[in-house]
Symmetry: D2
Subunit: 333 residues, 4 copies
């Protein structure tokens, strides 16, 4: 449902065109210095501005309304709210009758008997990731104090790994009223040995759970990932080179048996091309009961992958903080 985590628990809420979106973070250790400013850098990265992402201006200003006192976390649930600005905008009701391909319009209509807030995708909107990013910024701050650093970046757009080609690829997508997919790679450095809990809370299990919650994610792989399916054991196995568990190679992506092994955690996620495209698409119309042409209005990201790195970092950070807290619980004393 809309909550994740065992000790560090993140609950998100809101709809694209509702009054507010937000996040409640329960299980935040007390005494962490925190203000809205700590969240803004990551929120700005999500909002982006790079070509290929929506130019729509929204404040995205976080507002902490509980859980912080005198500039520090209190140990009580930390709630962060964001105002939506376009709550009165336009008529989206045609999305129910004529659902957009690749979107949640159709499934939401069926699942919620037509009561879903369909405006801009409602609760299925990517705007809901604001709360994840804010929670991630806090989580990264906690991890940084333990020497753990998380960073993600786009490594491929439209199948092309050459960064210098990307702006042309995106330009062409926009020109042709189309969109393109991409790959995001994320790395966590400084991770101690022993995070993750067998059997069902392996590092990959919990991380992929959050990553696949991000709209538009189609694939997740760790270390060599899908390439490892074509490898031999003698190639894939990482030989251990010291007593801290460092390995000569890192085909495993920092995880053995679902537990962190002291090397960098490395994973990649495949992001599909933005579903909203400005070209006409044929799709079923519930009013006419026929397949009819649909034209989606408004401006949209040509490459949603560009926004994903900071969300992927958030997913990783939230997961790792939870594992860190759990590990302390089980630690021998």
């Amino acid at each position: 449902m809309n909550t994740t985590g065992t000790l560090f628990r993140v609950s998100i809420f809101g709809e694209s065109h509702g009054e507010k979106v937000g996040v409640v973070i329960d299980g935040v250790p007390a005494g962490i210095m925190l203000s809205e400013d700590d969240l803004n850098a990551d929120l700005d990265r999500r909002r982006a501005g790079a070509k290929g992402t929506t130019p729509r201006k929204e404040s995205d200003a976080p507002h902490i309304v509980s859980g912080v006192f005198d500039g520090h976390t209190t140990g009580a649930p930390l709630t962060i709210l964001f105002d939506n600005e376009n709550t009165l905008s336009g008529d989206y009701s045609n999305l129910i009758k004529h659902p957009r391909p690749g979107h949640s319009d159709f499934v939401a209509r069926v699942k919620y008997d037509g009561f879903n807030d369909y405006r801009g995708g409602g609760h299925f909107s990517g705007r809901i990731t604001l709360g994840m990013v804010a929670a991630g910024a806090l989580a990264k701050k906690i991890l940084a104090s333990k020497g753990i650093k998380i960073s993600a970046e786009v490594t491929s757009i439209g199948g092309d790994t050459e960064k210098r080609h990307w702006s042309v690829i995106i330009e062409q997508a926009l020109t042709s009223c189309d969109s393109v997919g991409g790959i995001v790679e994320c790395r966590a450095e400084g991770v101690p040995v022993g995070l993750g809990e067998p059997f069902f809370d392996s590092v990959e299990a919990r991380l992929s759970h959050l990553l696949f919650s991000i709209p538009a994610v189609r694939g997740v792989e760790f270390g060599d990932g899908f390439a490892s399916a074509a490898q031999k054991g003698s190639e894939h196995n990482d030989r251990i080179k010291d007593g801290e568990g460092h390995t000569f190679t890192n085909h495993a992506g920092g995880v053995n048996g679902g537990i962190t092994n002291g090397n960098d955690i490395v994973f990649r996620i495949a992001v599909k091309p933005t579903s909203s495209i400005a070209t006409t698409q044929m799709t079923y119309d519930f009013d006419t009961n026929k397949v009819e042409p649909l034209m989606i209005k408004g401006r949209h990201d040509a490459c949603i992958a560009l926004r994903v790195p900071v969300i992927a970092e958030a997913a990783a950070a939230i997961t790792l903080v939870d594992f860190m807290l759990m590990r302390e619980g089980y630690r021998k004393r």
Copy 2:
């Protein structure tokens, strides 16, 4: 940890060389006809016997000790036990001192302060998946009564998608004391529209969670998966062709916005080459504090991917039953 699910809850336990492994399934609806025989077909598929999988003979006979009465499930927790046969076998203590590359030996030693049962990987052993497969067989029986069918198969071994090449590839791996990876594809047919729960319990999130719990899995993708990162929106979007949500194509793999859309769910998982190989590997030795050659004894699967299809089916079935039960809870009446 070792339990998964919201209403249909699966808890696994046991170690490779302990006395028993098993599973407790809580939340099984009452009145389902069930005996050990219903589980054997899938357990046999897991045990395999195909070239490339361990010839080791173990009974793998399931023993239901609670939750079934007069041949039907009772609604109480259903417990299935399996005996381990090789509980007294040999000396594995060198695995602590000289951890195997690609295995959990090192991380388990650190995580559990040396108290882990290291014999055969202990609780990290693939043998623990017996319980998942048994739970999956029950879940598939429940789904079958609703018209849902789940099936998985190996689609690639060692990078080769031609089935007729596989036995040679495996033969060569065995001859060269090596192992090979593979790809498994799974499909769920007859799935109704509307399964999955936003935001963090999307179909992909929950499915990947279980799939990445399976030892040796390195990647998971839905529909076109990683290939979609190189596609355009106009290629990737599935146009809806009727009021039931059927689409002309299925690039999405049956899921939009994290919710089933009425088309087949399709996903693929990348399985790394078996970590245990008979060739000598250099790796750190805690006794000598040096990198030393390690020779792993015993016979091992040359291609662990061959065992994975039935486990992937189990993961999918367990997840879908849970979603089905949840949906009934939320359904409008």
Copy 3:
């Protein structure tokens, strides 16, 4: 932590003197007609106004910011916010140094290393129950549509069960700068047979869990409760009189084996006297390291039990809705 429930999940947040308190309700079935007005009657009952409760004026106006669209629930998380009005009021820092007897001041200071928001008890304040009451109002609306009615009332104050004595009892408590406890009884009518889930989610287990979350509750009993410890089986056992499970008596309070039996659920809760009293109390002072006299300023409820009925109803309603949703999941079809 700050979330409760399996399918109908209630998360509360906020502090007494923070900016807002609120509640997120996840798992609300779509299509329930709902506006702020539906919540006000119960919120008014909680605010009270009866002699013996705080005269402090606060708007307590609920503000729904997500999960409702076009006057109906959407199936997405429903968030309700309340503004705090006295966020700048006064200096409470002495509560850290000189903790109030019966309050959380001391334990919060230790638990959160002094970072807790100590103003007015912070997150431990009874003000946090606003969210529970709002969630309860929604839950009661859902239950009403199934023919289930929940009602609670005070049955004893200061040990006196005669209602006509109460105003004198409270008057005297106020005059003597003291406070009094009370008993609240709650009844749920129209409950179907079969709610509750063995073993750890019995009706009593889950209900008491929520009831003991309410500040000031010291005891919970079902049916004859503590009196049953002095009874004989022949007195206590309720004989069944028809095929619907109705019984001639209701010593069990509507629950057998942890499962509803079709009779009214009846429980009572003991509420301690308000901890804040206007009389001087000796208690430890961390500044002087001595036991020193403490005078608590401000006006306080003389009998907090008067506010508890509507909160007890909320606890019961939230629990029963969750059980109703779970039962649908497991129902044979």
Copy 4:
């Protein structure tokens, strides 16, 4: 459902006349010395033998089948099995047609559509508490190493607090084919300040949750409990006498604001008289559709309260260990 706990997780399974009952304990820290012998003292106390408890002989021998290696816990799930001995005994099918007053026979029949294992109450049997007691013995061992001691005893039988009267009271109950209720008091000493998690995981909330899971419990109270409802604040408030939080009195039972305050936790539970009595009771017969006399065969406890102390200790110990592990997670470092 049948699992409880956040980090220290206890799952029970089994039926009275099934093949086995048992418990899986997940989240046990590694490195605790443990054998079956550590469990036997508590299991013997539960079996009892005192007049008033069933003379039925059952081995109740625990069998650890996972999670212990070389005499220590491994960190993996710890599974303990118990054989049932009377699995073939007699015909209980009349319990479906003619449900026993005070028992789960009727509700289980309805809830599970008649598929419940009705023999001896099936999964609702008190025999299921074997697993709780075993888990409790382990939990108490963990707590003892932290200086925490838990002990419970019967303080009243049939309304009489004089221990020297009890054997006569029980004798008379047996002679008159009847049963009697009782009160059990439990105390936890050496508990540190700060256990428990607001808002919904207060100490009382979590403890009562487990206590009300124990069959036959009708009431739970902390500290002065129901008596506090007749007290004044000036009587009830515990003045703090030192910097460790020790109080001059302990009316609160060791808990303020739901958090342990460093004083002994004290609670009492009301146990109803055994439902199975040898006297004839009128109750509904589904075969004849009339209220008919029912005679319950077999020998039964005259006072089930006598068995409850060790189960109450288990409930307390399981809860406190979980809180201890959680606290370590959140502790400032």
